[in-house]
Symmetry: C2
């Protein structure tokens, strides 16, 4: 239920702890949907997979989940999880629809048809809860799987319009070549929320610097494509200095003033969200070193 | 697409013009649903109608519209619009569901069954676009219809939890008796958004004062029931002095500070939203007289 007056709840959400300590949250529970259908579409071409996502959403179907793993990532995952991803495929889409039984079934059928029309090699359907859990295991343990094959990885979190998925992935491939890194891609394709994974060795200072530079290039690319700097993991002290890619000084000053209404002396999460060097008693904090552990 | 940083868009929405002049708005268009079903359920008891609404939403069905007219209002409307509302009924529900064809049909069937179980005298279905338009005409021209039978009316806009519909309507009936007014009820039942209509004559200063007092009592009732002061029409200068029913001085001071970040000298919509008498260069403005014209 909306309250009258200014939307302070909405404002505090996404403020990353720079406004207040939240001590109590009331949530509304929704019923579980009556039915769910889980599909795995397997592709020989990354572009066919992204085209399928664009086509599905253009038809007004909003899947509850639409996850994509590229060839490199699905091979790392398969070696660990054994979810049945074919090792010679270029991409897989894990798609889930839910709702009233007839609607879920109708949408699943339409999604299958769209994927096959975009040259999916095969579209599998989870036949029971065990098969569904196994497909999801392949997605959920992907980050752990990548951790087995690289000393460190840098997980990015950017958003682009879904219609730009294909050109963006091609540009990320160019960035990978330029910096001589493997960059795996795993993402919430249905939301245009990318999680490129830059594989590097944090013990090598040169690699460490290059990983950061490649990450900043990918973020800049997301903004150029009409997207944003973060989909779900926030700005923090990793991307606060990139905020001017999206906001001018007037915008940022307004955000500083709003923060000052809640947090005038800068005690709450100093150095987060906004670029440093302006007001609010902030002190420059050193970013934490990147580590091999990550979760998204 | 969410942007990083503080949610200024969400903050400006609902600020009732006290933060900024909005010069450009970008909206996302959604596809029309594949199908729509429009139902009219007719009741001999107001309580059966409100119980039906509670039951429908408890089943996880979220109708696209769920509008209720009480007996007094539906008679005023029928005399003007001829939508086919039976003059001896105590309430009608106008319910619309939409979505994929099979889902809309399944939900419409379940809603019919629920309404009949709660003793609906009859559940009609619009068989074509013309019948659908006629049922909606009964709802959309309701305010005009009420204007034909009273010199003035005071439209309220409050929200209550749906589960409290029945006791709230009984209490509104008590308020009507206490102030010796007819109070019609028309509302977005599915959202718990009430629009009680107090019928009065603005040319009589005593009636004018009593109408305002009855309105304030109804607002206080909504808050007591766990609801809020406005569902969709805002606080403005009608209900700003009632804001302390919902917010304490700390909350209101925080809202004043947030407003000052945008509007430090109080030029934008002075006297709106927040109670007067504090900072921001506000001057006391006389409220506009209530008039017989209204729209909700």
């Amino acid at each position: 239920m909306e309250t009258p007056g200014y939307d302070l709840t909405g404002l505090v959400i996404g403020s990353e702890g720079t406004f207040a300590l939240v001590t109590e949250i009331t949530v509304r529970l929704l019923r579980l949907p009556e039915d769910v259908r889980t599909l795995l579409a397997i592709y020989d071409s990354l572009e066919d997979a992204t085209d399928s996502v664009v086509d599905i959403t253009a038809r007004g179907i909003i899947p509850a989940a639409c996850e994509m793993l590229d060839g490199w990532t699905l091979r790392a995952v398969e070696a660990y999880v054994h979810a049945g991803f074919p090792l010679d495929s270029a991409a897989v889409l894990l798609i889930e629809v839910e709702g009233v039984r007839q609607a879920a079934e109708a949408q699943a059928a339409e999604i299958s048809e769209v994927c096959l029309r975009h040259h999916a090699r095969e579209v599998r359907r989870a036949r029971d809860a065990r098969e569904r859990a196994l497909l999801w295991k392949g997605r959920k343990e992907a980050f752990g799987a990548v951790g087995r094959v690289s000393p460190s990885y840098y997980v990015l979190d950017g958003v682009i319009p879904r219609t730009k998925l294909t050109p963006t992935l091609l540009r990320i491939e160019e960035i990978a070549k330029r910096y001589a890194f493997v960059i795996g891609n795993i993402f919430h394709a249905g939301d245009g929320n990318l999680h490129p994974l830059i594989l590097f060795d944090h013990r090598d200072p040169d690699q460490f610097q290059r990983a950061r530079a490649a990450g900043a290039d990918i973020m800049q690319l997301c903004v150029e494509m009409g997207g944003t700097l973060t989909g779900e993991h926030g700005v923090g002290m990793e991307k606060n200095e990139l905020m001017p890619l999206m906001f001018n000084e007037t915008d940022l000053d307004l955000m500083r003033k709003v923060r000052a209404a809640f947090n005038p002396v800068g005690r709450l999460n100093p150095g987060k969200v906004l670029p440093l060097g302006k007001g609010c008693g902030e002190t420059r904090l050193r970013p934490f070193p990147l580590s091999a552990s990550g979760k998204a």
